[in-house]
């Protein structure tokens, strides 16, 4: 079947950000230097936004074209050529245009463009401005490859590509080693998941190539989605073991990228990156790629009830742990990071109960409100001289009205204010599907695993309402302006690079590798010392510039209830769009209206408790003195020791193993080699000559030996009679 070439333009969705990346990498710095920081940075920023915006328009165009096709024909593949092609394995460069990929494209490019715009303002004082947008454009390109690629290997290219960009952006401020260490942690933990992903792919190749007749596989494109999706009706329950393991292995990949328990430990540390990065990569797009993968592979995963049960339970545990840790955090971005972990848990609950589309629904609404909350927190941080500790905030609604109003919308969406905000709709869809799961893997208390996860989800909803309200009250609420009474003990250390300068220069520099004294002098004269001041008691926060608040307002509009009701209301638009068939009204054990009631109860109890505790004034235990903290929140603040056990434990264990191997190598493996050498030398002790230790002597000796040996064998060869 040939589909009109109109879908070939999908390649430009990937190429545009890639061209933007190349421009920033090769010419961005020169552009900023030529035009000067004041005009050059916005210009470079504008050039970085443009390709993302264009890709969005292209994506919208393709989506509308796709929507005009009949439901069963809404999938097209555009092939560019072979990538890896040998006997037994064909992996072409191919992109897939279908409802799932285009939905992701619209989120990535739409929200991506807004965040790029915001970053022009947020990063305006940054010396390495073009480098930031280099990474950001590359990230968008990789993310688009991830969702558009028509085979698992291309998805994997994007998968690791976004991982690298995330690594580079977390460690963007590399002069502080803590940031670089957080970056390393993110990449390495993600790689653990990636091993699962790779093994899952290997198993699929095995399953399809070994059963190609049974499954009627044509060609050798084992890992292409059209092959994978085409065989899914024939898989049925023929290969339960293989299907279980493939599902679990791919899920392990998803756990790494989407920060599921216990592989979530990298995400809170990832907040070391600039805030636009946290919004784009670590909230709206990259961390949802695990949900995308499960959606993409859903026809296979759904065939393994055991795997589904595990996914739902892991999702529930993640939601619960993330929310519980958020109770005790004092850093505004860390609260949002754990809330992201928790919300990602919801998406996996949805996948685990078979409501994959509901997982995507929550991806969409979450992308808006969490990007909004992060960018809002970035605006607060920007206004508060890069102080991120909420214990120095308070009463900011007076100074940052737009930020406050838009963040309040984000808050209302995440806590699930009924009907009026988008988060309510997607959370209802997820939890409704979970508690009404009719058959699935056995859980406990007479419930299926999915139902159990659903009820945990409602409890988490109440917890979310509490900790998000706490965050808002600590930041914007009360009349305390806490930065006024406490001078922060944290001062950002300026980099005293000149201290390191040596007085004298004793290395002779014939090749011209070093700057001379005069050149160093000139460079330090030219260096612009950019203004940087710390938060002090006289600080008056000011509302952020328009490039920053305009994206906030647009995202706030996207977080309103009409988005949720349009996508997931009575018309079930999103479900029909993603699944390709009209939704069947499911009637489970829990009635729809009852669920809304439970949601409202969760919302009211969480918000009420928070207002009771934090509404008037901040409780004493939330101060700077750890000893006054209430033990439960302190325990939560320290993440219940999970990160300490997992990360530090692994690092320590790895250190021991490494040291053992190192010693083994030095004293045993190499010891034997040197021992043989010493032995040979002492055996030849009668002859004084060889002990000189010169290569020449040994070489000569060995040559003599070899020649004698060869001569003997040759002699036998020549004289020995053929049998």
């Amino acid at each position: 079947m040939t589909v009109p070439n109109e879908f070939s333009t999908v390649w430009w969705i990937v190429f545009l950000p890639l061209l933007g990346f190349l421009f920033q990498a090769l010419l961005g710095k020169r552009l900023v230097e030529t035009l000067g920081a004041k005009f050059g940075r916005p210009a470079a920023g504008a050039i970085a936004v443009a390709p993302i915006g264009l890709a969005f328009l292209l994506g919208a165009d393709l989506t509308s074209k796709l929507a005009q096709l009949p439901e069963h024909a809404r999938a097209a593949v555009s092939t560019l050529g072979p990538w890896m092609s040998v006997q037994g394995l064909q992996v072409p460069f191919e992109l897939r245009v279908d409802p799932l990929s285009m939905t992701m494209v619209l989120i990535i490019t739409g929200i991506g463009a807004l965040i790029h715009l915001y970053a022009i303002g947020y990063m305006a004082q940054e010396r390495d401005f073009p480098r930031f947008f280099t990474y950001l454009n590359l990230f968008v390109a990789a993310m688009l490859v991830l969702v558009l690629g028509n085979n698992l290997v291309l998805t994997f290219v994007g998968w690791e590509g976004v991982g690298v960009c995330s690594y580079l952006l977390i460690g963007f401020w590399y002069r502080d080693l803590a940031n670089s260490k957080a970056a390393n942690k993110a990449f390495i933990v993600n790689r653990v998941g990636d091993v699962g992903f790779a093994l899952g792919m290997f198993w699929i190749v095995h399953l399809l190539s070994q059963n190609r007749e049974t499954l009627a596989v044509t060609g050798e494109r084992w890992l292409s989605y059209d092959t994978i999706l085409a065989v899914s009706p024939r898989l049925l329950e023929m290969f339960p073991t293989a299907l279980f393991w493939i599902s679990i292995l791919l899920f392990i990949g998803a756990m790494g990228k989407s920060a599921q328990f216990p592989l979530y430990v990298w995400l809170p540390d990832a907040m070391a990156g600039p805030t636009p990065v946290s919004a784009l990569i670590h909230a709206a797009t990259m961390v949802t790629s695990g949900v995308y993968l499960l959606n993409r592979m859903s026809p296979w995963i759904a065939l393994s009830p055991a795997a589904m049960g595990i996914i739902a339970i892991v999702g529930a545990v993640t939601a619960l742990v993330g929310a519980a840790i958020a109770f005790g955090q004092t850093d505004i971005k860390t609260v949002l990071a754990y809330s992201t972990v928790s919300q990602l848990g919801y998406m996996f609950i949805a996948c685990g109960v078979g409501a994959f589309w509901a997982g995507m629904f929550h991806v969409i609404t979450h992308a808006f409100f969490k990007a909004l909350l992060f960018l809002g927190s970035g605006a607060v941080i920007y206004a508060m001289a890069h102080q991120q500790d909420m214990r120095h905030y308070g009463n900011l609604r007076r100074y940052l009205p737009i930020t406050f109003a838009t963040m309040a919308v984000g808050w209302a969406a995440i806590v699930g204010v009924p009907f009026l905000f988008s988060g309510f709709w997607s959370k209802e869809a997820v939890l409704g599907a979970a508690v009404n799961q009719t058959h699935g893997a056995t859980g406990a208390f007479g419930l299926t695993a999915g139902q159990l996860a659903g009820w945990v989800g409602f409890a988490v909803a109440a917890m979310t309402a509490f900790y998000m309200t706490r965050m808002m009250l600590l930041t914007f609420g009360t009349s305390e302006e806490r930065w006024r009474d406490a001078v922060p003990d944290h001062h950002a250390e300026p980099v005293h690079s000149h201290e390191a300068d040596a007085d004298h220069h004793d290395v002779e520099d014939v090749e011209g590798f070093f700057f001379s004294d005069a050149e160093m002098e000139r460079a330090s004269m030219l260096e612009v010392h950019e203004e940087h001041h710390d938060l002090d008691s006289h600080h008056t926060p000011r509302e952020v510039p328009w490039v920053m608040w305009v994206p906030l307002v647009l995202l706030a509009v996207g977080s309103l209830g009409f988005v949720g009701s349009w996508l997931g209301g009575a018309n079930h638009r999103l479900e029909a769009w993603l699944t390709g068939h009209a939704p069947h009204e499911a009637h489970g054990p829990v009635a729809h209206n009852l669920l809304i009631g439970i949601s409202a109860l969760a919302f009211v109890s969480g918000v009420g408790l928070a207002f009771w505790l934090y509404g008037k004034k901040t409780p004493v235990w939330e101060g700077m003195d750890d000893k006054k903290w209430n033990p439960l929140q302190l325990f939560a603040r320290r993440q219940f020791g999970i990160d300490a056990i997992l990360s530090d434990g692994t690092v320590r264990l790895g250190g021991i193993v490494g040291a053992v191997c190192f010693a083994l190598d030095r004293y045993v493996v190499d010891g034997v080699v040197n021992g043989v050498g010493v032995l040979a030398r002492s055996l030849g002790g009668a002859v004084r000559q060889p002990q000189t230790g010169y290569v020449r002597t040994y070489a000569t000796l060995m040559q003599y030996g070899a020649v004698a040996l060869v001569a003997y064998v040759v002699y036998r060869l020549m004289t020995g009679a053929p049998q």
Binding site: S8, P82, M84, V192, F515, V695
Partner: protein, 554 residues
Amino acid sequence: MSGFGILTAQIAIPLAGAFALMLVPNQYTKAIQWIAMLFSIASFAASLAILTRFSGGTYQMQMTEAVSWIEPLGIHYRLGIDGISLWLVVLTTFLNIIAVWFSFYVKSRVKTFFVMVMVLLAAMLGVFLSLDLILFYAFFEASLIPMAVMIWVWGGSKRNYAALKFFVYTFGASIFMLLGILTVAALHRNLTGNLTFDLVSIQKSVASGALWAQAPHLQALLFWSFAVAFMVKCPVFPFHTWLPDAHTEAPTAGSVILAGVLLKMGTYGFLRICLPLFPEATVQAALPMTVLAVIGILYGAAVAAMQPDLKRLVAYSSVAHMGFVVLGIFSLNHIGIVGGAYQQLSHGVSTGALFLLIGLLYERIHTRLFADMGGLKAKMPVFAALYLVLMLSSVGLPGLNGFIGEFMATLGAFQSGIEGAYGLNLLLPILAACGVVLAAVYLLWMFLKVFYGPVTNPLLHRLKDLKTHEVVMVGLLLIAAVWGGLYPQTFLAPMDRSLAAARLMATSAPGERPSWADSGVQIAEDGTLFGPSEGPLPEFVIESSSPSTVGVGR
């Protein structure tokens, strides 16, 4: 077969270069440098000429040459090239240009240095092009001498120890190979009454099953006599300890060539000699070899993570990366073998590049210890960017060359493992896959310690970024790394048939094995053999590269 041809020219050009250099008086340093460069470029041009003549549609030896040499002993000068050796030849001449270019920094005994580089180049090319076992052995050993001299004369503080260890260790192991060669030739003579060291003839009698039918018990012994030589060269755990010492002490050009090419002589030996000549023994050895490969992957990574010295770290990473080559080859699965062969090329480019980058840094600050570094990114952003990309290619990032080989090698090992073929099991590829996590651990920490954080060493404070010609030098390798990652088809397509044949030579039953001597016999897309009697050969078709759009139903 005919007399001398283009392959001889390929080997003769660097030798001619060495002679030309000897004629130039010592003090004309510039002339010496540019003559070496000229001959390096000529050598690369020759390999490109070979490339254009090469056909990927056959597994047979191409451009073969045979000249009588030591007639009474049946030793001939025989050269030939196929898909297994093709890219190694190109890689060798390519890396040689880079190594020579960098060696413009060499200040002492310039002439001798470049003579050694040229002799080394000729010897390495000879290894990849020889079809006579004695000739192969001669080149194999000949490559040792210039390399050992390079370490010994231009090396670091412990150069005597390193050069001696390198020489004695690898030479000692090769003795076993020589004995193996002689015995195999003797067995072949027993069978045919004809004393020859011709790889093609001997393999023909192996393919029919006749050779080993007369002495089945000897096959495993002889396999290991070759395998030991190759395992030391690769190096495979536990025969690797000469490598870190040799690398650390060698001058930069030596390290680049050592990592880029010399190690591949070991894995090439497996593909060229072990698989075709010792089929049953290869199958039996699949499990132990794979076990050693996996140990090498994990152990090399663990030890690499503990190194305080940049070069030692990259040297141990070579142990891990070459483990993937051995893993792929001994998976005896076509995808795995292709992956292993591809990983040879990738490792040559990315590890060669890392050694080059370390050399560029060492020329400036005369240290390789992490303790003396930190914060370099602020001082040398271009250097940092180049280093980053090539480090990521070593990490195996998809889109760069390192991924392709590791992915296919592990995929192949997984297929053999899950099927329980050749005595392999699933645990081995799973452990190997975990090795990629460790690769990220030590390489990312290396990058962090060198480039991130504040500048603490006063020496670094005045550093300028790379010079333009240095950027070009590294840039060439970077282009190769990106090309190899984005369009591996360039390299995979010509290798495919020869590697399929090598696999079938080892895994098929006697009598069904392909033989280089059966001219006209081909391997079909599905891996079956068909002879010239079955009609004209089909064109070797790889997937159409023209852009097309196909739709699929859901």
